[in-house]
């Protein structure tokens, strides 16, 4: 961290007063690397900080966790502000849901749901245009000319007779202009930045070690904490003997908080060593009997006894299936998963004089503020949140447990403290992707196509856990991609919520993966029963679905343009998620041990308008690899309430030698922008499942598709 930003942190507690009036006057920014503006900052709007030394800092209200918002959000502002994207600085916004809330997520300041670009698409361009107009107004006043004679270009306002002023020179005057209510924004055909392949702004700092992640935060006088939590999630401390831990080198204090016992020391290594010397008696609580197999049986039982919440019904599908003599039924099961971003959970908290400063990696700024306020009885306005880079999120950093813990420890010891979880803590104390059971049935007509289909999903509602959605209210985030696009005369789709007892979280692509795995495996099974080619079978049912048919054809044509080696097979799948249409073709073989090898994945995506096509590609590459792990190798299991997997040897992540070649076709489109951070994660799973079924003749209906699972099928 550079000194400017360090200073800004120290100043934070003195100067912070997040204004409610819409301006961010006087709030120091946390920026990365050398990004801090050196001049006096002027803030014409909440999105643009214009310094009189010509440094322009654009705010990203979304957290950078790899998905590229640190570049794409500023691109949208810069497009209208008319500045060179390579010359702007970026800062992540402080919590202020009024200013920075995500309209697609109920107005809270949360990064998730592949919403950043979709939410910012218009807002951020308007924000850039507003400031541009304020700069023009300032110049018009200065030169006493009409606004219509001026234009703003490349960081400069140009006027008649060669008059010129840089944005920096106009910064102060512009910041006093009223925020224009109505501004015109460009027709997309005039875009100069948006839609162009643009280099990420955070790359240089991320290849030389200078990028600051939460785990790298340093504050003056900061100490380090390691936290022992009950091996059964939700368990509490009955008693603790900390005498031995306290006598270990470097240990400063031992603090009990609701989630466990924290050892505070002068380095994290020493804190974590001493932690092992704690003697704790736990009250393991209700979770102590949890077992993943029993949990799955509970879900299966609930699929019969629970209360179905409607997803979609057309005609009388159950009756049609009951009357048919050609019925296919199948049950699909998805496993528990951890998020396991590479940077373990951590946060830094500094409590002094009734104010709290929180610094670290979070996907939910105002959530963090609110949760800490509640946990330690403070006013939200006395709590500052500064967001660092996130070493991966995938949904894990929507949760706030580790932030509250850091705050509680700092409050208890009255010092700045950095709490860092070990990998083992991280893997065994996650909010897990829930298990699910799908029961699907379809009747086939004389042409082999389905005449009716029923779909029942039984799983745990994450929204119930995170946001307290009542049990009787359908959870939209369980129903994503639940209805496949195929023309089927009668369908009956519903979902049953069942709390299996383990805490669950949003995991990259959320229910898209669960539902697409079931739907797209099933359509292949129907094609097989009908004796038809799975590609032609799908195509025949996609009349009137041009975006689906287009991506499917593009992916298939591209994949089929290469010869298929002996011992390889292809599988296809498609889905719409986050307004992005996508098809994938996976080419697989089995290795000597019988494990699946994915050689090549062909992806055709129609994400509507793109802000940065290079990021779109990167996110598809990322998601394919991420979803592959879930398809083939990862599973969290529980015994006596304890998560059995503790580190990457038991929860493997796809490695270099296992990563497939990925061909990507992006469809140019003028449709509204779709999300891209997640959907490919879901589509790859059934594409692989279908390829394996074609290759081996064996259908694995339970994830992950391991060598053993294939042998047993």
């Amino acid at each position: 961290m550079n000194t400017t930003a360090q200073t800004s942190r120290r100043d934070f507690l003195k100067t912070t007063a997040i204004t409610s009036g819409g301006l961010l006057m006087g709030v120091p920014l946390l920026t990365f690397g050398d990004a801090q503006a050196a001049g006096t900052l002027h803030t014409p709007s909440a999105w643009v900080h214009n310094a009189d030394d010509n440094t322009i800092t654009l705010l990203s209200a979304r957290s950078e966790m790899g998905q590229g918002v640190y570049t794409s959000m500023p691109m949208l502002i810069a497009e209208e502000l008319n500045v060179d994207i390579r010359r702007v600085k970026v800062a992540i916004a402080a919590p202020d849901a009024k200013l920075y809330g995500n309209a697609l997520l109920g107005g809270t300041q949360l990064t998730g749901g592949s919403t950043s670009v979709r939410d910012g698409w218009e807002n951020l361009r308007v924000a850039g245009a507003q400031v541009r107009e304020m700069l023009i107004s300032a110049a018009a006043a200065r030169w006493n000319v009409d606004r219509s004679e001026l234009k703003a270009e490349n960081g400069t306002v140009l006027g008649p007779n060669g008059k010129k002023a840089t944005y920096g020179e106009l910064a102060e005057a512009a910041s006093k202009m009223p925020l224009p209510v109505k501004v015109s924004i460009k027709d997309p055909k005039d875009f100069r930045i948006v839609g162009k392949r643009t280099k990420r702004l955070d790359t240089p700092a991320k290849v030389n070690g200078s990028a600051e992640f939460g785990i790298d935060v340093k504050l003056p006088g900061m100490v380090y904490a390691a936290l022992e939590q009950c091996p059964v999630i939700g368990g509490t401390v009955k008693s603790v003997d900390a005498a031995r831990a306290k006598s270990m080198p470097g240990v400063i204090e031992v603090v009990q908080i609701p989630d466990g016992v924290a050892v505070v020391a002068d380095s994290w290594w020493r804190a974590n060593q001493a932690r092992k010397a704690l003697a704790i008696v736990w009250d393991e609580g209700a979770g102590a009997t949890l077992n993943d197999k029993a949990m799955l049986e509970g879900i299966r039982a609930a699929s019969k006894s629970g209360r179905p919440l409607p997803i979609k019904a057309v005609g009388d599908a159950p009756a049609a299936i009951a009357a048919s003599n050609r019925v296919v039924r199948a049950e699909y099961v998805s496993q528990l998963l951890s998020h396991s971003p590479l940077e373990p959970m951590n946060f830094t908290a500094s409590y002094a004089n009734g104010k709290m400063l929180l610094i670290g990696p979070t996907q939910w700024q105002d959530g963090a503020q609110g949760a800490v306020a509640k946990a330690i009885d403070m006013k939200p306005e006395d709590i500052g949140v500064q967001t660092t880079f996130l070493g991966g999120g995938f949904g894990r950093r929507i949760d706030l447990d580790f932030i509250v813990q850091a705050a509680q420890i700092s409050k208890a010891i009255g010092k700045p403290v950095k709490l860092v979880w070990s990998r083992e803590d991280d893997m065994t104390h996650d909010f897990y992707r829930p298990q699910s059971v799908h029961q699907l049935a379809a009747s086939l007509g004389a042409d082999g196509k389905p005449t009716a289909m029923t779909f029942r999903l039984t799983s745990q509602s994450v929204t119930g856990r995170v946001f307290g959605l009542p049990n009787e209210v359908p959870d939209d985030l369980m129903m994503e991609a639940a209805v496949a696009p195929y023309a089927i005369p009668a369908i009956h789709h519903d979902a049953i919520k069942h709390d299996a007892g383990l805490r669950v979280g949003y995991w990259r692509s959320v229910s898209h993966l669960l539902n697409a795995f079931a739907n797209e495996s099933f359509v292949d099974e129907l094609a097989k029963e009908a004796g038809q080619d799975p590609y032609q079978y799908r195509m025949a049912m996609l009349a009137g679905q041009p975006r689906f048919a287009n991506v499917l054809k593009l992916a298939m044509d591209k994949a089929a343009s290469r010869p298929l080696p002996a011992g390889h097979a292809r599988g296809i799948a498609l889905m719409e998620g986050y307004d992005t249409y996508m098809a994938q073709v996976a080419e697989v073989s089995l290795d000597a041990s019988g494990a699946v090898r994915v050689h090549r994945v062909t992806v055709a995506a129609d994400p509507g308008r793109m802000v940065n096509p290079d990021t779109v590609e990167a996110q598809i590459q990322s998601s394919v690899v991420f979803g592959m792990g879930a398809a083939l190798m990862q599973e969290i299991t529980l015994d006596k309430g304890r998560v059995q997997q503790t580190n990457f040897h038991q929860f493997p992540v796809v490695r270099m030698s296992e990563a497939p070649a990925i061909d990507i076709i992006l469809v140019e489109s003028t449709e509204k922008p779709g999300g891209i951070g997640e959907p490919a994660t879901a589509v790859i799973v059934p594409a692989i499942a279908n390829a394996v079924a074609t290759l081996t003749g064996k259908r694995v209906r339970k994830l992950p598709i391991t060598a053993d699972a294939i042998k047993a099928a």
Binding site: K206, W268, G392, V625, N647, R655, M656
Partner: protein
């Protein structure tokens, strides 16, 4: 008090001899470019060079490094091969969250120092210990090949 030679400088480190190099770098010396991902030599985020060879600093105690040369990500910009690797990473826009990338750059640099024309199999072997949870492997592979060309 141990002395560690880090990036060509002898630095006094007030830490127990069993302390992993990773934590001496991060917490004692304040060099946080080297990352903690697993603590068990399973992810490669903590990769540094010891006498030029890539090691997992999370499981290597400082007692094993006295009198030897530790090189970290912070020194790569001034290393010919390291710089070529960093430049190729920028050119291919490899990074996503970026958390694994210090370790990836260190492993790739070590590879290219001993093998100027790595095959795909060489890359697979050299990078096998480095997890990227964001799945940037395709770009890492392209960037390594590009850096090899630049260095040729």
């Amino acid at each position: 008090m141990a002395t560690l030679n880090v990036n060509g400088k002898d630095l006094a480190v007030d830490a127990d001899p069993s302390t992993p190099i990773l934590w001496a770098l991060r917490d004692t010396l304040g060099m946080t470019g080297t990352k903690f991902g697993c603590g068990q030599a399973l992810c490669g985020a903590c990769t540094v060079h010891l006498n030029g060879a890539p090691i997992r600093s999370c499981v290597t105690p400082i007692s094993a490094a006295t009198g030897q040369k530790i090189t970290t990500i912070e020194a790569m910009a001034s290393d010919r091969v390291g710089k070529a690797v960093q430049d190729a990473w920028v050119k291919h826009d490899v990074v996503q969250c970026g958390y694994c990338q210090s370790g990836q750059v260190m492993s790739a640099t070590a590879l290219l120092k001993t093998n100027r024309k790595p095959t795909d199999a060489d890359i697979d072997a050299a990078m096998a210990g480095n997890i990227c949870r964001c799945g940037t492997y395709a770009r890492i592979r392209s960037a390594i090949k590009d850096a090899a060309t630049q260095l040729a």
